[in-house]
């Protein structure tokens, strides 16, 4: 299962997904608080660790030359129930983002949604539960895990495609990306299904108590599920709409919000600086073509050649020279600080 990275998403997409995920998580926490028993807390931690470790094992996908790893969302959903499963997935991804930069803090919402939501709130209740509705047997575990893993991964993969495209950081055309992602995730889904089935069967044999507890969790009425889904889709539409509105009006939502904040009393100074600076800038033309207008080009970047922010030999040269200087300066500063620190340590020691 693929993790979205910070570098691949735009703040708008990242923000929307973060808000959505936070909503689902809050709902899950509320649900969980009512029925949390002693054994569940360590179990959630352990399963989190297990999936974390499992995600580190990469396997090659036959015939494609690429490799993938498990998502683990189905495993969590089945062993812990949907709410605890979703939260556990969220904590795994947070740790990965922090310690390995795998995924990322901004992409955190996307990743939790892609790996956790479809598995815990779609595939588990509607597919896995359907297969095992008449009691657990190893055959039903197998069929249920397989089917739900396949569906969940397809949804997750499609979600990755959408998020990437909406962010507009890559050049991938939609169809090609879809054609790339879906089949790969079909393969990963099969492996995921097999592994999930194997582990669930194993646990069911060795510690049936664990599985029963998750399955008996009756809180999952259909009504509440429907409520979640509607609330969620409304949230997505509203938040997404908001974000995309100002994202298109002002492609970098950040600048918009900066101007907003800059307009308020506390932060008056930057606004002034900004205005004077842009005046200076237009007068001296030190920054040819690099101002807010350039970003308007970006909006249409995907379609037209002229969308390319004007680059002429002049700016490129100054860009390259300036870039090199910036880098050199940064490295030099760091080096000097380290030297001073080391000296200090030596003198104190």
């Amino acid at each position: 299962m693929m993790h979205m990275a910070d570098a691949l998403i735009s703040p708008a997409v990242g923000g929307t997904m973060l808000a959505t995920t936070a909503g689902v998580a809050a709902y899950s926490i509320k649900k969980l608080q009512n029925e949390l028993d002693e054994k569940k807390i360590p179990l959630m931690g352990v399963m989190g660790a297990f999936v974390f470790a499992a995600q580190m094992i990469n396997f090659s996908i036959p015939g494609t030359g690429s490799s993938g790893h498990l998502g683990g969302g189905m495993l969590l959903a089945i062993l812990l129930g949907p709410y605890a499963g979703f939260l556990t997935m969220a904590s795994i991804l947070l740790i990965q983002a922090l310690f390995f930069g795998d995924g990322g803090l901004l992409a955190f919402g996307c990743n939790v949604f892609n790996l956790g939501f479809y598995t815990c709130f779609i595939a588990y209740p509607f597919i896995y539960k359907w297969f095992t509705r008449k009691g657990i047997t190893s055959k039903r575990i197998f069929a249920g895990s397989m089917a739900s893993a396949l569906v969940a991964l397809q949804l997750g993969a499609f979600s990755v495609v959408l998020e990437t495209l909406l962010s507009g950081k890559t050049e991938l055309p939609f169809e090609k990306f879809v054609l790339l992602m879906q089949p790969i995730h079909l393969a990963i889904g099969i492996v995921e299904g097999l592994v999930t089935a194997a582990i669930i069967t194993f646990v069911w044999r060795a510690r049936p108590d664990i599985l029963e507890k998750a399955a008996n969790e009756e809180a999952f009425g259909n009504i509440s599920m429907k409520k979640v889904l509607t609330a969620l889709s409304i949230a997505v539409v509203v938040v997404g709409g908001l974000f995309s509105w100002f994202a298109s009006a002002n492609p970098d939502g950040l600048e918009w919000s900066i101007e907003k904040t800059a307009g308020t009393a506390e932060l008056e100074a930057p606004d002034g600086i900004h205005e004077t600076l842009s005046e200076i800038q237009s007068k001296t033309a030190l920054l040819p073509d690099y101002d807010f207008k350039a970003s308007e080009n970006e909006k249409t970047a995907g379609q037209a050649e002229n969308a390319w922010p004007a680059v002429n030999a002049g700016t490129s040269v100054s860009g390259i020279v300036g870039g090199a200087l910036t880098l050199a300066l940064a490295v030099f500063t760091g080096w000097v600080i380290m030297l001073i620190k080391r000296r200090k340590i030596k003198t104190t020691a």
């Binding site: 998403i9 974390f52 990469n58 922090l98 950081k169 991938l172 920054l287 760091g334």
Partner: protein
């Protein structure tokens, strides 16, 4: 497998680093988290063709490295480990976008430009996340989350997961070590042993986790981690946040390298 053990030692390295006592380490965890989020947002907000404008943002990691006295090599290694993944996605750009652009007099494909842009952004964002944890540590990070009103149960869940990751990976590495000592001729695990291995690990970790959790309960644990004194937000913390944010915003609005460059080339 060695993958897993590597990442465990990486996590532990970061844990160790977080225990240093520098001015960066003493900044309030919440402030460091917020600064990181601002940084990430600003870096990511650059459009996909931007390269030069991103360069000033390297000041942030470099200064943190220097002030927090972090070892550069091992952390760079960790960051490089993530790169192949990004390259894997970004590399498709040059394949799909062949249109050329003149850059400094040389014609290059725009695909490569976006690729490079992604690569830089990725390096910067990954580094920022890792530096956050390397100067804060998991326990204090949890305090920051609590201050953001993230529910106790979720924070606890994160801390426990974090704790059990070591338990589990340790369990795995011990099992592998024992295995290889008694199967001298073999390279890696026999496939037939995989099933029993994974199951064993899971069950053993279940049991161990239950015992660890019980041990916590026996010592009066009620779901809230107390990590000693975490000072209130001070003026220094706020100044730290304000200074960095100001820098990020200015660097976002003005393309500093181009500015410097044209001054420079202009002077010459």
């Amino acid at each position: 497998m060695s993958n897993m053990i590597n990442s465990l030692s990486n996590m532990r390295l970061l844990d160790d680093l977080a225990r240093k006592e520098t001015f960066i380490h003493r900044i309030h965890p919440l402030i460091k988290l917020l600064t990181t989020v601002v940084y990430l947002t600003v870096v990511v907000s650059f459009e996909r063709y931007e390269i030069i404008g991103l360069l000033p943002f390297i000041f942030y990691p470099i200064l943190i490295f220097a002030f927090a006295e972090l070892p550069v090599a091992p952390i760079l290694k960790m960051i490089l480990l993530i790169e192949p993944f990004i390259i894997g996605i970004g590399i498709l750009n040059p394949l799909f976008d062949h249109s050329k652009v003149l850059f400094g007099g040389i014609a290059i494909s725009k695909g490569w430009v976006t690729f490079l842009s992604i690569l830089i952004k990725c390096s910067l964002t990954v580094t920022a996340s890792i530096l956050l944890i390397a100067t804060t540590g998991m326990d204090r990070f949890a305090v920051a989350l609590r201050m953001l009103k993230i529910p106790k149960i979720f924070v606890l869940q994160i801390l426990l997961t974090y704790r059990y990751i070591s338990v589990l990976i340790e369990e795995v590495s011990r099992m592998i070590r024992a295995y290889s000592l008694r199967a001298p001729g073999q390279k890696g695990l026999k496939w037939s042993a995989w099933g029993s291995f994974a199951g064993q690990i899971l069950l053993r970790t279940f049991e161990r986790a239950e015992r660890v959790y019980q041990a916590m309960n026996l010592r009066g644990f009620t779901g809230e981690y107390y990590t000693g004194d975490i000072a209130k937000l001070s003026f220094k913390d706020l100044a730290y946040f304000a200074a960095w944010s100001l820098f990020f915003i200015i660097a976002r609005i003005y393309n500093i390298p181009v500015l410097i460059g044209s001054l420079f080339t202009g002077v010459i």
